[in-house]
């Protein structure tokens, strides 16, 4: 069975992207007499370029013998397990973006900072909690003042 290396995965993902975008480019308004080149030409040139380069990458990666690895599912599980804190940080950021318009800048930002600092710094000592709380509250207040009063930017 074919081993999925980084380059092979990248090339396949890019070929999929090219296919999806090429189909979508069909819905762009076609060329007219006053717009002879049409709006789809430039993206299609780029998609063709990406497609050719991705194929070259795939071919090159197939020429190099890959060391057989564990099945894809086990590999993905291992990859995820090794990056739990990073994936958790992504999830926290998505949650922050989702909550920002609902609960507002102060609560959402303070919550994001508290949780992400706790995630990365740890919560095993009082000192770490003090650092976490100090940074979170100070930064939220400071940025609010700078943006709202210094730069006249309304935060949600």
């Amino acid at each position: 069975m074919l081993t999925l290396t980084k380059d092979r995965a990248l090339a396949l993902a890019l070929l999929l992207l090219v296919a999806v975008m090429w189909v979508e480019s069909g819905s762009i308004r076609p060329p007219t007499s006053w717009q002879p080149y049409g709006s789809a030409l430039f993206p299609r040139i780029l998609l063709a370029t990406i497609g050719v380069l991705a194929l070259l990458l795939l071919m090159r990666s197939l020429l190099v013998a890959a060391t057989p690895s564990a099945p894809l599912l086990a590999l993905s599980r291992r990859w995820i397990r090794a990056r739990m804190s990073i994936l958790a940080l992504f999830a926290l950021f998505a949650l922050y973006a989702a909550l920002l318009p609902i609960v507002g800048y102060i609560v959402a930002t303070a919550g994001f900072l508290l949780c992400s600092l706790a995630l990365l710094l740890g919560v095993d000592t009082r000192r770490k909690w003090a650092i976490n709380l100090g940074i979170s509250t100070l930064l939220v207040a400071l940025l609010y003042v700078v943006f709202r009063f210094g730069l006249n930017v309304w935060l949600p």
């Binding site: 980084k6 380059d7 995965a9 990248l10 890019l14 975008m21 979508e24 480019s25 762009i28 308004r29 717009q35 002879p36 080149y37 709006s39 789809a40 430039f42 993206p43 780029l46 998609l47 370029t49 990406i50 380069l53 991705a54 070259l56 990458l57 090159r60 990056r83 804190s85 990073i86 940080l89 992504f90 950021f93 998505a94 922050y96 973006a97 920002l100 318009p101 800048y105 930002t109 994001f112 900072l113 992400s116 600092l117 990365l120 710094l121 650092i131 940074i135 930064l139 940025l143 700078v146 943006f147 730069l151 006249n152 930017v153 309304w154 935060l155 949600p156």
Partner: protein, 500 residues
């Protein structure tokens, strides 16, 4: 010109702009001092604060960060033995051994003065060559501009650490990102039925997402891999001023050569401080009468490294201002600042915004003076700040990026754009895809499409790109840069195969 220069001097000399330069330099030095933070990240974090400013204030603040950032790497390089930025790697080779043998003040002092002189010499290069190149490029028509952008992108892609194919892919993906939303003919492209995509992606959230997420989360991964704390640091440093004056007196030629190398490399697309750093260090060793002292704490090594990486600041402005083509990542962001303020960098900028061009020259010089003063007065504080753990830094910078993206248009969608491109950037980074060509593609995409179709509207024959001498020259250079990268790639692989 003198009239505009004096007007620029008056604007930059106002207390508010001076204050901004000081803040920028301080932040830049801090950003440059913290290992893994880099000048680019410092510039990205400060960028949103310029939205509400006038162009001179905004650009001056950014230049302050730029100048401070390139010099900041010396603190962690000398005190911790860890380069604060990739452009100060060779500073560690001699700065750290000198500090280890009990002369940290001397190492820092030499580095700071060399940084200062490097910046000043690079400003002279910018003042001389900027208008010359801009004047020459005034003759460029759409064919030449298109070919020049293609050349810049292939050059950057080709210099992507031996990953030509991935570099070219990254550049093409960057260009593709700019095709989302309404185009030059008001036709909608790739909106996938989502109204939010109709106006396309703003450059800033895309740039921050792709660059900041990959770098910050990469730092977290490195922390996990490298177990063990930072070395204990003695921040009680005294600067031996007389000794440094004597040292620098003996380094006049080295300083000039290294600064010119830095300015020249800064002006080439895709190179920047890291390349300047190594080339200049190598040249200094070749020209030295005592090459065996390099790597053991010689002042020549520190001067070569710091003068060249600081000189990149002025040199990098040459193609950005004169041609509208940023040479590296910090310059791509700087170009974003100018575009945000309604100024299109390029040859016309020298005619249409001479005061702003003058303000850039003056800000670079003032920034260099402020950098020396701040470094000399606050060095021990910077050394302490350099110890801020990444675990604290990463959440804070991510939050600042989110607020910065929002503040651009008071639009929450931009935070989602930041997040999505953050995920994309992180995955591409994990796939060992170079991200600089992608970001340059995002910055240059609109202009490339506009110029390409302007050329085709003027003359429908595609062969005109090859019949116009300059356009043909740029395209030939693009092909040559790809062939040269292929040759380099093959050489590296053959060497690796031989050693295996």
């Amino acid at each position: 010109m003198t009239h505009f220069f004096l007007q620029a001097l008056a604007e930059v000399g106002s207390p508010s702009v001076l204050g901004l330069i000081i803040v920028g330099v301080l932040f830049g030095i801090i950003g440059g001092s913290i290992p893994g933070f880099t000048v680019t990240m410092a510039i990205l974090v400060v960028f949103p604060f310029t939205f509400a400013m006038d162009p001179v204030s905004g650009v001056s603040l950014m230049i302050g960060v730029f100048v401070g950032g390139y010099s900041g790497g010396i603190v962690s390089g000398v005190m911790l033995g860890i380069p604060g930025t990739p452009s100060s790697i060779t500073t560690v080779y001699d700065g750290y051994p000198m500090a280890q043998r009990g002369e940290p003040g001397r190492a820092l002092g030499i580095g700071i003065v060399a940084s200062f002189l490097g910046t000043l010499i690079s400003v002279a290069v910018l003042v001389f060559f900027g208008p010359l190149i801009a004047g020459f490029s005034m003759n460029f028509r759409p064919w030449e501009i298109t070919a020049l952008i293609v050349f810049a992108l292939t050059l950057v892609a080709g210099l992507s650490n031996g990953a030509l194919l991935k570099g070219l892919l990254a550049a093409a993906i960057g260009l593709l990102i700019t095709t989302v939303g309404y185009d030059r003919n008001s036709n909608l492209r790739f909106d996938f039925g989502l109204p939010a995509l109709s106006s396309g992606f703003e450059i800033l959230p895309v740039m921050i997402g792709v660059f900041a997420f990959s770098q910050l989360l990469g730092n977290i991964e490195k922390l996990r891999d490298e177990k063990g704390g930072k070395p204990p640091v003695n921040t009680d440093v005294a600067i031996p001023y007389r000794r440094i004056l004597k040292d620098m007196g003996a380094q006049k030629l080295n300083t000039l050569r290294s600064s010119l190398i830095g300015s020249l490399i800064g002006a080439l697309p895709g190179t920047g401080g890291t390349v300047a750093n190594f080339v200049s260090y190598d040249q200094a060793r070749k020209f030295s009468r005592e090459p065996e002292t390099f790597g053991k704490g010689t002042p020549s090594g520190i001067v070569a490294s710091e003068a060249s990486n600081s000189a990149v600041a002025g040199g990098a402005f040459v193609p950005t201002l004169a041609l509208g083509i940023p040479g590296d990542l910090p310059m791509a962001i700087m170009m974003g600042v100018l575009i945000l303020h309604g100024i299109t960098p390029g040859p016309l900028m020298f005619e249409q915004n001479p005061v702003l061009v003058g303000a850039i020259y003056v800000s670079l010089m003032v920034g260099a003076v402020v950098m020396v003063l701040c470094n000399l007065m606050l060095m021990r504080w910077f050394a302490k700040i350099a110890l801020i753990p990444q675990q604290v830094l990463v959440p804070v910078v991510l939050m600042l990026c989110a607020i910065g993206a929002y503040a651009l248009n008071n639009n929450l969608f931009d935070i989602w754009v930041l997040f999505i491109f953050g995920v994309v950037g992180y995955l591409l980074w994990k796939a060992e895809m170079p991200l600089t060509p992608l970001i340059l593609g995002v910055v240059l995409g609109d202009n490339l499409e506009r110029q390409l179709f302007r050329a085709l509207e003027l003359d429908a024959n595609w062969l005109t790109f090859l019949t116009r001498p300059l356009s043909a020259l740029f395209l030939a250079l693009a092909v040559a840069s790809i062939l040269f990268s292929l040759y380099q790639d093959r050489k590296v692989r053959a060497r690796a195969a031989n050693t295996a």
